[in-house]
């Protein structure tokens, strides 16, 4: 075996250009697969990582109606003590700007403290966010999506009619957090305090709205077990329990299609890389067949003669893989941070 190692090393040392060419070929074959696969992994990881921000809570219960007293009691009996709860109601409605222009929006009426995770990115950056959040709940004020400025011809400081109440536009929401149950919305959103919702008189009998209870657990380790219990306890079609992972997956549904496609692409890349590597190995072994025969004629056993070149291939493969993974982890924009760690 010593001879096999020594001879393999000598061959590598004396045929540098071939070895470099071989290593580059092998590394390039694998890099395509890894790039696609790591992009997919990175995408999934990001969705997973952002899932709490997407939901704005550890878990949520969303219903097309208010929860019954029994259902509320069931939930309260199952969740751990010190679990924080926020209620949000959202629904679609027509709103009107000061010039009388109107259009469909999604009204989000929320409690103070929403969201538990993530935050609103507001246009008025000079304002302290905490203060701004509190201000939304102190008067009849509304935050709107930027596109509504032109659609409703309304600006910050002007009034917006929501139902039977006038709300003052105090800020523009550049990016909102939470409640991402679906990948797309039908209309831009406006945000008001839940305590002002009744004044709008938009939610009367027969109106459709989603009633959402958002929860922040004191200890997230109990979540999986709790989700199972809640799913069993509230098994009606118009009430759904969402963990942040589930919400993340729903919001990332389109990304999942992309992820599936990328899986296919990475499989094809792997297949091509395998064929390429196979040809490379085959070419190498064919090239060395003569040398193996010479070694046999000089008194080497078959094992040693073949091991010489297998070891050489292994060394080149290890170097190619090391180079690939090291450079890839350093330079790939898709390589997930947690994998680098």
């Amino acid at each position: 075996m010593n001879f096999a190692f020594r001879n393999a090393w000598r061959e590598i040392r004396n045929s540098r250009s071939f070895c470099i060419f071989y290593i580059i070929n092998l590394a390039l074959g694998l890099v395509g697969f890894l790039t696609v696969d790591s992009f997919k992994t990175s995408l999934e990881y990001k969705v997973e990582e952002e899932s709490k921000n997407l939901l704005g809570a550890d878990f949520a219960i969303r219903a097309r109606r208010q929860l019954t007293t029994e259902e509320t009691q069931t939930v309260q009996s199952l969740i751990p003590a010190q679990t924080k709860e926020i209620k949000v109601i959202d629904f679609y409605s027509m709103v009107a700007g000061p010039a009388g222009r109107s259009r469909l929006v999604k009204v989000v009426a929320m409690d103070p403290g929403f969201p538990f995770y993530g935050q609103f990115d507001l246009k008025q950056k000079e304002n302290d966010r905490q203060t701004s959040n509190e201000l939304l709940h102190q008067g009849k004020v509304v935050w709107i999506y930027p596109e509504l400025r032109t659609q409703l011809d309304v600006d910050i400081g002007e009034m917006l009619s929501i139902g039977e109440t006038q709300f003052k536009v105090t800020d523009l929401v550049m990016n909102d957090a939470g409640l991402q149950f679906q990948p797309a919305e039908l209309a831009p959103k406006v945000f008001i305090s839940r305590k002002n919702l009744a004044d709008t008189k938009l939610l009367l009998k027969g109106n459709t709205a989603f009633y959402i209870s958002l929860f922040k657990l004191p200890d997230s380790s109990v979540q999986d077990e709790l989700m199972e219990k809640l799913d069993k306890a509230i098994s009606v079609s118009d009430v759904r329990v969402y963990s942040h992972q589930k919400a993340g997956h729903r919001a990332g549904r389109l990304l999942n299609y992309l992820s599936d496609f990328l899986s296919l692409v990475s499989m094809v890349a792997l297949f091509l890389a395998t064929i390429g590597s196979g040809y490379l190995f085959h070419g190498f072994i064919v090239q060395k067949t003569g040398d193996i025969a010479v070694l046999l004629s000089l008194g080497a056993s078959k094992k040693i003669a073949i091991y010489t070149y297998v070891i050489q291939l292994m060394i080149l493969g290890i170097v190619a893989s090391y180079q690939l993974f090291w450079r890839f982890s350093c330079y790939s924009p898709f390589y997930p941070e947690h994998c680098k760690d």
Partner: protein, 228 residues
């Protein structure tokens, strides 16, 4: 005198589809220590096959080969490898040097396989003996044909085998270089008392050997050098 190499009733057949070609038919040959034998024959007559069988690189369908009273048919592959590295040196027409190794490294290989101490020192001496002391670190691609064959000769002789099998060693060389190479092989074998079995189709070379055998249609016919 006990023969160094003895072939008894060697038969070898190659199969090409349904066709069978009997290359060697009931070959018998005895070679004494220190003897130089030429095997003459036309291309395709089976000379190289016979040489491969003598070296233990190929197996006969029938018959036995004894080298140093060791029956090559009865020993394992690993034992055969060890035996070959100690007792048999081979010189090929195409040199068959490892092209990624230097002359010195090529010559060292047999000693390294035998785990001899200081193989490089002995390899330098061997290369010096064939007149290549100034070409130690050259690769085969940097050597002329004659120099490559000298390296191959040094490699075949470095472990001081009792038998040198040479398969048309001057076949790829011009006449002058070929003569130099053959002169080198003959003199080295004589000086060291090694047995030489030379496969060739050159009658002049055959005349320089102690004995000549002719392989024709798979049958070995022994003749004196003058008759050949």
């Amino acid at each position: 005198m006990q023969p160094l190499l003895q072939l008894k009733k060697i038969t070898k057949t190659f199969h090409q589809g349904e066709q069978c070609v009997e290359v060697l038919k009931n070959i018998n040959l005895s070679v004494n220590p220190g003897e130089q034998i030429a095997i003459l024959g036309q291309s395709g007559s089976g000379k190289s096959t016979l040489l491969s069988i003598m070296a233990g690189l190929d197996h006969p369908d029938l018959g036995t080969i004894e080298v140093n009273q060791e029956n090559l048919a009865t020993i394992s592959q690993n034992e055969l490898s060890r035996f070959r590295s100690k007792h048999i040196g081979i010189v090929f027409q195409q040199y068959h040097l490892m092209r990624h190794l230097t002359a010195l490294e090529n010559v060292s290989i047999p000693l390294e396989l035998q785990r001899t101490v200081e193989p490089s020192k002995k390899a330098k001496e061997a290369l010096n003996a064939v007149g290549l002391s100034n070409r130690l670190d050259h690769f085969p691609s940097q050597l002329s044909g004659g120099e490559c064959q000298r390296v191959a000769i040094a490699r075949a002789m470095i472990s001081e085998p009792s038998i040198i099998l040479a398969d048309e060693p001057s076949g790829n060389l011009d006449q002058k270089t070929g003569e130099e190479i053959m002169g080198l092989i003959f003199s080295l074998c004589r000086d060291r008392g090694q047995t030489l079995i030379l496969v060739t189709h050159n009658h002049d070379l055959a005349k320089k050997c102690d004995r000549t055998v002719i392989l024709s249609d798979g049958i070995l016919v022994e003749k004196s050098a003058q008759e050949a």
